[in-house]
């Protein structure tokens, strides 16, 4: 187990209110897998990534029963040690890559900045050229065809897809064990999107790099991920292998999510899609107990108590009235 998070709670404390933006969420990552973290806007997907990398501001309080990274509990380490581990092992890429790169410097400079000195063999004076070789090698590896041109261009001269590839090159420069991709393909054209997802898949297979794919794009997750965790309003709903979840969802929310995709639902054209009424509750007005409660078709009296997560054959769900249960 690469990462094992149990009952993570992230609380936002301000003078007027105190809310649990993430409420007792659990997630475990197997080494070498692609894990999809799926949820709607405001369900705490990105917050989880930031809590994991320790990049939240003082307003947020992170508690967890355990947050094991390869057997070490990240929350009980000193900040310094923790930052060391994270910068060594975890890398992250974001949505809107062209805005994440420095507009005033060339791509070559930005990628070479991420390469640690100890990767460069040879004497002090040959470092410059070796560094450039390494940058070109990285750009080649992420599938940039005209790497010489890309090396000397500025981010605004590149397309969105190329920028994301450069971001990935920067992220893999330190050979991380885990790559967190926070909505890497959001608002991209489908052809570019597929390139990026393919690249992540390739890196995952050839470099044995675990990928945590944070997205709301269920189609992409169902195609590329091995395992997935579904979040709703900061509570984990269901997790397990993608195939198993697609075939046999236990939680009503998972079921409706999958049915809302016309292709997966196998619906006739122009018929109504299955969907939940209402919208995601805002943080100030979270319902007690199971947060899906007011929108859930199967909700009953017990749903005001937060359901415990149940585990059967690697398939974890939290619901009082699961569906598709064979008795």
């Amino acid at each position: 187990m690469l990462l094992d998070v149990r009952n993570l709670t992230v609380t936002l404390k301000t003078e007027s209110l105190q809310v649990d933006a993430i409420d007792r969420m659990s997630l475990s990552l197997r080494a070498g897998s692609i894990h999809g973290l799926v949820g709607e806007t405001g369900s705490g997907k990105s917050l989880f990534a930031r809590a994991l990398t320790g990049t939240l501001s003082d307003k947020w309080h992170v508690r967890a029963d355990r947050m094991f990274w390869q057997g070490e509990d990240l929350l009980r380490l000193s900040d310094e040690r923790r930052n060391q581990i994270i910068s060594r092992d975890i890398a992250m890429i974001f949505q809107e890559p062209s805005q994440c790169l420095d507009p005033t410097r060339t791509v070559g400079e930005q990628v070479s900045e991420a390469i640690p000195n100890k990767d460069l063999s040879g004497g002090f004076f040959s470092r410059g050229s070796r560094r450039k070789e390494r940058v070109i090698e990285l750009l080649k590896r992420v599938g940039v065809k005209r790497y010489e041109q890309c090396f000397s261009s500025y981010p605004h001269e590149l397309s969105e897809g190329l920028c994301q590839k450069v971001m990935i090159a920067i992220a893999v420069a330190r050979r991380p064990k885990l790559l967190i991709a926070d909505e890497p393909t959001d608002a991209m054209e489908s052809a570019t999107k597929i390139q990026i997802l393919r690249l992540l898949q390739k890196l995952n297979q050839s470099k044995d790099m675990t990928v945590l794919l944070i997205t709301h794009d269920l189609e992409a997750v169902s195609q590329y991920a091995d395992e997935m965790t579904i979040l709703y309003s900061g509570q984990s709903v269901e997790s397990g292998s993608v195939k198993e979840l697609l075939k046999n969802p236990f939680h009503p929310y998972t079921d409706i999510l999958f049915k809302s995709i016309p292709k997966l639902g196998k619906l006739e054209a122009k018929t109504r899609l299955n969907t939940l009424p209402g919208s995601v509750p805002p943080l100030q007005h979270l319902p007690t107990g199971c947060r899906l409660g007011p929108r859930c078709p199967n909700a009953q009296k017990e749903c005001v108590v937060t359901p415990k997560s149940v585990k059967t054959k690697g398939h974890i769900f939290s619901c009082h009235y699961p569906i598709n249960q064979s008795k």
Binding site: I194, H216, E219, S260, T275, S279
Partner: protein, 261 residues
Amino acid sequence: MAELLEVENLSKVYERRILPWKKQTTVALESVSFKLASHSTLAIVGDTGSGKSTLAKLLGGAEQPSTGEIRLLGKKVHSGDHKNRCRNIRMIFQDPATSLNPSISIGQILEEPLKLNTQLTANQRQDRIRETLAMVGLLSDYIWHYPNMLSSGQRQRIALARALILQPKIIVADKPFAAMDPSTRSQMVNLFLQLQADLGLSYVFVSHNLNIVRHISDQLFVMEDGKVVERGDTQTILADPKQVVTKKLLYSQQMLGTKKG
């Protein structure tokens, strides 16, 4: 009877003078003709820069065509005649957060097109706003809200209400679902389909999600480099694509793979 919308030889060419005696022309859209009946949906798909947004903008009147004409129920729409056009063809954009004015309330946002285009009195305008809000599934209390107080799904509903408020016949939607969550997206798809059934609206959809396109559209245009390379009935094209572009698009969304198993 004349078709609801007829488009003939519509094209758009951008010209740029690089030297005093030399012009550089970029063809954004090569001449295209089509007809659209009421109650039907035309979807336009294609890669970036294929001219699909240009076509949508020309229909919506945001750009002037270089050649060709648009006829509504047999009558020619002049490119300067925004009043007549906007009462029949309305547009919705990709990002509702930036297409609504953040400094005025929803009520005012919805009232503006009525003030500019109709002779309704203040009371009638308020009634119309309430009706339209109810149509898109929002409470009438929302007229006091400002766009920043709403979620993105609600904002897109407001954008739709603003389009519907002049009771148009055609709605041109430029990637309306691109940045939406799956459950909000299916709510919006349902709303679009229901409005079409109730009011007999026609839609022109620009999209890159073929799953949604397959679900809602009757006709499909596949575009590449300003040309319509494949056109026809949606289900037929998607079941048996002829052009490389279409196959590529289908492949990129894993819709060919499913057939082989």
